[in-house]
């Protein structure tokens, strides 16, 4: 890293450039870049992000840094031919944060640095505008008092309100120069009284204070929270941009505006922006005055009733300057090869660019812009692909709440599965199914869900739980179903017995309508308007075509039913990476037999019960194989502990006893005997197959039986049998033997053959540590990173809600390891298993089937460590295809 602490820019010269974004932050790097391009930028300098990190450690600015700042200041003064805070003609400065990635509104800014009792008088005299001078001064005192000196903003607001009341005026702009001068005096008083220190007169003291405030703003709660949500590392730090002030509020020849080089909502290629004459930048953003459109096209596209339709455009009132701005727009788009979000100020007929950065855009816009830029020859297909973020696709795949709707937000939970859902509240699966069957749209509200709720979840528009995390049962199943879900919403109290939901002091009963925003986690009263997804966009098809051309990773899906399999195939899945078989024991026609099996006293009775389930499962597999004709289907043999299949409530136990003709005491004894302290680490996975081989045998019979049936019908079946929870070689050896012997028996009985593979999940840390031994008996490994994360961290997914939020808030972990694969820890085990497995068995096929298989950052990791495929829920397949292509392209381009 460079030793240079301060980077000057101004008058066509700049120490920095766009490539130094990590060091200078996005804003600083782009200011330097624009300066180099000859675009008019007020001169200034950028203090590096490295200095921010040093400040976080030492709590002080070094003398070396201050010396470099003074040198840079001298260069700005030379360019401006003015002197910092010269009482005769004061050069004033803004101080703004600028991190590596944009964190809009998250950090602090101070404007007009350099004003004090003497320089404000000089400014008034020089500009001939006393009102402007004192308005600038009172803004400085207010912002500086708030941001640097910690004086609560409301004190200033009370003072100005009191003054306006005395003057009997409504708007700040109604106050005259005298009023503002009086206000400055009042403000100075407030600062001294509230902070116990006087407002600093010394311009340099003001400057140092401003810089330190920006450094400190990196650590304020809202910034920490923003980074947590957006997974921005704590140690990146922010740069500080110190820039000569320009003013858009010096009369009718001054103005200020913001613009996007293309429409950020639709992606349409038209210059789109707003501006205000005689105003400062914050006025545009604050929405006090209605901004004007910069061009006629923009004005014409406004709704007929919109106030700005009556206002003149910049194109009309400042045609030359608009032309200059439009030329800069073209220049920036050609230079950055991306849609830009720009800020400009016109001071007395002179245009200054204050910012350019890649513009935020909707999913739809992202796709259109990427394709348009490729058509326009600005980018090739690879770079076009990089312009679309995986989350953009996620937006496209689900209903969304209309961004224009007014929302009655009740509470916020975890955004567990994206999209909007609305319907009548139902408090249990049975009611949800019944209501849905009556044609009602329902939202299932539960404390938490369990496998027994599947039917209700399936019929619901969305799921709301008051407990559990991003990978709770509700969240995982909902994402698998592509259904919106808000999980772990602790502010919601659910009383299922009374069919009552209490939130924010309000009560909701069965049948009341709510809306969930699974993208943001909001729980909303009533039914705001929704907007549907648009999947048949030809631009999207074009984009996904490129993605498929460039990616190396294959993308499979996690699908348990023919319906999900077909859905996923439509989304481009290249096979099933995880077909769970739990639900094949849970269906109404099976659970009774399953319970009979569990309660059976010996193997013979168990086999008899299983015999009834087998043909039903074979039919399940036949449907799945047909849906995946020509593609591999990885079937995981039964994984959950048997107690999950037994009823827990007294009433249900009684029913079961009557049904099976056994005593309630017998069932209770069995429930008690199967109870586990830590079911996650208990009698499940292949431990079931090793202690009750008949269960796995029946499953293998059903799989191979189904494969033979479909093969005889001309379907190209590619079954892969996956043994869960293996931790030692001998477990897999034994289970492989069972599979091979069972398959041979079925094939001999039918007189036909079918090829199949036998492999294992790598989900127990010991499996990764001994992957060389396990690979001897495996055709494939599939990394079950959900459980691997649970065991590597010692985190039970169901129980982390009490501490993981604290961990993320305190920065003890950079991200939720169940959402983004922990490359430092869990990733080590994955890499180890890949290396050890391939060393022994070079043909070993490698994939991932945990939730991480649909997370872009984790997909990047999977690509780098050399997996063959990722597998994710159907609705994330397009996202995974894109992410896989992007990592391949970035690798190729060296980015």
């Amino acid at each position: 890293m460079s030793e240079k602490r301060v980077y000057f820019f101004g008058d066509g010269q700049a120490d920095g450039q766009a490539e130094l974004k990590n060091l200078l932050g996005g804003k600083g790097a782009n200011l330097a870049e624009m300066t180099r391009l000859g675009i008019p930028v007020p001169p200034g300098f950028t203090i590096t992000t490295a200095e921010c990190t040093i400040y976080q450690q030492t709590g002080a600015m070094s003398e070396a840094l201050k010396a470099e700042v003074r040198q840079a200041m001298a260069r700005v003064e030379a360019v401006m031919r003015k002197t910092f805070a010269d009482p005769a003609d004061p050069l004033l400065f803004s101080v703004r944060s600028g991190a590596r990635v944009s964190m809009p509104g998250m950090m602090d800014t101070v404007l007009n640095l350099g004003l004090n009792e003497r320089t404000v008088a000089g400014l008034a005299k020089k500009t001939g505008n006393e009102r402007f001078a004192y308005d600038s001064y009172r803004r400085l005192i207010h912002m500086y008092g708030d941001v640097v000196m910690g004086v609560d903003s409301e004190h200033f607001e009370e003072a100005i309100d009191a003054l306006k009341a005395r003057r009997r005026v409504k708007l700040d702009t109604d106050l005259d120069a005298g009023d503002l001068r009086e206000l400055c005096a009042a403000y100075l008083d407030i600062v001294a009284r509230q902070s116990g220190r006087p407002f600093p007169d010394d311009p340099w003291e003001q400057l140092w204070g401003g810089v330190v405030a920006v450094f400190r703003s990196w650590g304020v709660p809202r910034a920490v929270e923003y980074r947590r949500i957006h997974r921005i590392p704590e140690d990146w730090g922010t740069a500080v941009n110190v820039q000569a002030m320009v003013y858009g509020n010096l009369g009718q020849t001054s103005a200020t505006g913001v613009a996007f080089t293309r429409d950020p909502s639709t992606g349409e290629n038209r210059f789109y922006g707003e501006f205000l004459v005689n105003a400062q930048g914050e006025d545009v953003v604050a929405g006090i005055r209605t901004p004007q459109q910069i061009n006629r096209a923009g004005r014409d596209s406004l709704p007929a009733s919109h106030e700005a339709r009556t206002l003149p455009t910049m194109e009309e009132v400042m045609p030359a300057l608009y032309g200059e701005l439009a030329a800069i727009r073209d220049r920036l788009e050609r230079h950055y090869r991306n849609m830009q979000d720009i800020e400009f100020t016109i001071q007395e007929n002179r245009l200054w660019m204050l910012q350019t950065r890649n513009g935020k855009r909707t999913g739809m816009a992202a796709i259109r812009i990427a394709c348009d830029l490729e058509r326009e020859g600005l980018v090739d297909a690879k770079r076009a692909l990089l312009l679309v973020e995986p989350d953009h696709l996620d937006q496209l795949l689900h209903d969304q709440i209309d961004p224009k709707a007014r929302l009655d937000i009740l509470a916020s939970g975890l955004p567990a599965s994206p999209g909007a859902a609305q319907g009548a509240i139902m408090f249990n699966a049975e009611d949800a199914v019944a209501a849905a069957n009556r044609g009602q749209r329902v939202v299932l509200v539960r404390r938490e869900t369990s496998p027994e709720d599947i039917a209700g979840m399936n019929k619901a528009q969305g799921i709301l739980t008051s407990r559990g995390g991003m990978t709770s049962h509700a969240a995982v199943v909902a994402r698998g179903m592509g259904k919106p879900c808000v999980a772990g919403c602790g502010d919601v109290q659910v009383d299922a017995a009374k069919k009552l939901m209490t939130v924010a002091g309000r009560q909701f009963r069965e049948g009341d309508t709510i809306t969930l925003d699974g993208t943001t986690g909001a729980v909303i009263a009533g039914a705001p308007a929704l907007v549907p997804p648009s999947l048949d966009d030809p631009n999207l098809s074009r984009l996904m075509g490129w993605a498929d051309r460039f990616r190396r990773l294959k993308v499979r899906t996690n699908a348990d039913t023919p319906h999900d399999a077909r859905q996923a195939r439509k989304f481009g899945a290249q096979g099933i990476g995880l077909c769970r078989t739990e639900h094949m024991f849970f269906g109404e026609d099976r659970i009774r037999r399953m319970r009979q099996m569990i309660l059976a006293g010996d193997e013979t009775a168990r086999r008899a019960a299983l015999e009834h389930i087998r043909p039903l499962q074979q039919a399940d597999f036949e449907g799945i194989f047909a849906a995946m004709d020509g593609l591999p289907v990885t079937v995981r043999l039964l994984d959950p502990p048997l107690h999950e299949f037994l009823p827990q409530g007294a009433r249900e136990i009684e029913e079961l006893a009557g049904d099976l003709g056994v005593s309630v005491a017998d069932i209770e004894r069995k429930v008690e005997a199967l109870h586990e302290q830590n079911p996650m680490l208990g009698h499940r996975g292949c431990r079931l197959g090793l202690t009750f081989p008949e269960i796995y045998e029946v499953q293998v019979e059903a799989i191979i039986g189904a494969a033979l049936v479909q093969r005889s019908r001309g379907v190209d079946v590619r079954p892969e049998i996956m043994i869960p929870l293996v931790g030692a070689r001998r477990e897999l050896v034994e289970m492989r033997k069972l599979c091979v012997e069972t398959a041979a028996r079925v094939m001999a009985a039918k007189g036909a053959e079918v090829a199949y593979l036998v492999g294992t999940m790598i989900e127990v840390p010991r499996a990764a540590l001994t992957a060389d031994q396990i690979a001897e008996a495996a055709d494939f490994f599939s990394f079950g990173t959900n459980d691997l994360t649970q065991m590597t961290f010692g985190f039970s997914r169901d129980d982390i809600a009490t501490f993981l939020p604290v961990y993320l808030a305190k920065g003890l972990l950079p991200t939720d390891p169940f959402q983004q694969l922990d490359q430092t820890g869990v990733g080590q085990l994955v890499e180890m298993a890949v290396a050890k497995g391939r060393a022994v068995n070079p043909q070993l096929h490698l994939g991932i089937c945990g939730e991480h298989g649909g997370d872009p950052a984790s997909i990047g990791f999977c690509h780098r460590v050399g997996l063959d495929y990722v597998s994710c829920s159907p609705f994330r397949v397009p996202i995974a295809r894109l992410a896989a292509a992007q990592i391949a392209i970035r690798e190729e381009l060296g980015g």
Copy 2:
């Protein structure tokens, strides 16, 4: 490994030697060695253990092996000047198994191979003893039919019983030659009828069948079970010894016997053995005839009423041969430098040695023999130390059931904590405490125990549970207390409500007396006699002195109270490696405050409740520091989840509500809110400290406060604060900061200083994977291998009882990983953490505090990977000292 398959021995020549034990098994290697020493051994040959392993894989003997056997046979024939199964003068053979370690009675043997209708006649003629010949033949048919051809032994027994009834005689020896000839015919018939195949006439077919039977016997259930118990790997295999038969039953000049070169019970240096004239070896073992003592000293030491006191000794009836045997005894002891267990046969006045091996001995004998051999100059101190097994010490440290007592064994559970305990059954902790306070000796019988049972466990003589494994709460705590425990005894039904224990169809009620043998796992009705431990043995002190001189590993103890600390110090502990602090919140005077804290709504209320607990904890620590004056004390901050401290039953909740003045519903809500699916992976360890820092703060205040008090009294205190369950660097950084700041505050307030360390448990896999990062903030690592094993395997200790026994029976795992550290998997993480930790922080102090710290094999591992110390329960400290010395000596001696 050698390619040679068959090793000849005979007439002073041998291909093998004692060092080839792994290849030839113990028996074969020693037969070769004795032959080389010029000791008379019937000639023969040994088929290697490698061939056994090949047989397990291929299921057949190779032609190459058969060819080598034929060559070896020719050499035996040459030595004996006879031919295998020569009808005129048949050379006969025994086939015996012989594994690397002795597995007494576990595997199969066939004698008299080579006999058939023709050779039996030749044998009768040659020996002039027809009865002997047909007796030998019927033994062959019986053994071969049973062992090789799978005919149930009872068929033969029925036939001989029927014959004896017809002849109206009682003993086999009352049958004459004609009877036995008739019996042979009947036996041949039984074989043909039961097996469907005729008994093989062909001597070579007999031989191959015998060899294969021995190979197969490696896999029979009783052998598998024996290996499981004694932790003998499956892949060692057994060798096969084929040896010319010699006969002790050829009249009054023939005899057979077994002897120990020293007394195996006391260790006394006297030649100790038994023999029978005109008998075969099996007669001595079977106990049909009362054996005679080999010498007068042995006879004189018998109880006055003993039948053998009236019988002549070998010293008297065969003085020359006794002299020869005594000389061989001296020779063997000098050669092997260890007490030997020998077998011999005298055939017509000629002495043959059939076996020598290191003799099994009691703990007391082992210590005496080791010290005596050193005094006699046969071994030096290092080799003397290797003669005592760690388990020998374990025997010495606990009361034992008198080996002579007759036992009414009800059931067998896991031998969870050694020693014998007897007393009145009590079904809950409260009753146990009350009864003990009345002066009654009690045994606590529970389905399983929990921390709330501690007081009752402490007052009980021993603990019996019907559930849980070797590392269940009951087992761990009992071992910690040095109290006998039988755990997971599934045959026992415990109905605590009815105060009723049902076992083997019998009912036991409160107050009934039972006895537990924690060394064997037996549950015994009534009160058989016990024998006390003898700790003040000067030989033991001498031995432990050597151990301390040779070991590199330090040995600390896991102790939570001043009492345990003093106990452990007496046993030689060099500090406390793990002081758990849970019980400091559980005491009667504290649990109320703890519950108040848990139920508190905010930090202030939590702190107020904790303030009451702090002085009590400080007093606890003062006692522990005093007991460990001059030695380090590692204190683990609170680890278990908070719900463990709340009552679960309705009555208790009601009481608590009344006591604390809160509503029952409030407590129920809290219990429900704190409920966890997998508490093992939930909100515990440092996750508590990070979310409720006040708990850890109060603990640190108590620790440092206590240290300052004791220091002011002149005690040399060395506190080490240990943070549990760290998985990420930042967790430890944050907790270290809390410790350092809190300690500084306490020291400033008292105006005094004390040195202390802050370190962490390595018990989460991720901690091992990121040990380089974590080491930056740690003064020490202590491997918590209990939890590390749980998470690395994905095994919940509380829930493995349903599958781990199956795993061990099927050989899916070589040993219970909670008893012996899994070096392959868990060990990799330990090694990784050692390497990564030391690379970053060369001063890092390393220890282990899991249960494995007291397991000799695991201690060997700890030595090899370079830990600084092991820590174990007080009663295992001497064992750990010995084991640590043995590994150091073995390393030095290259063994």
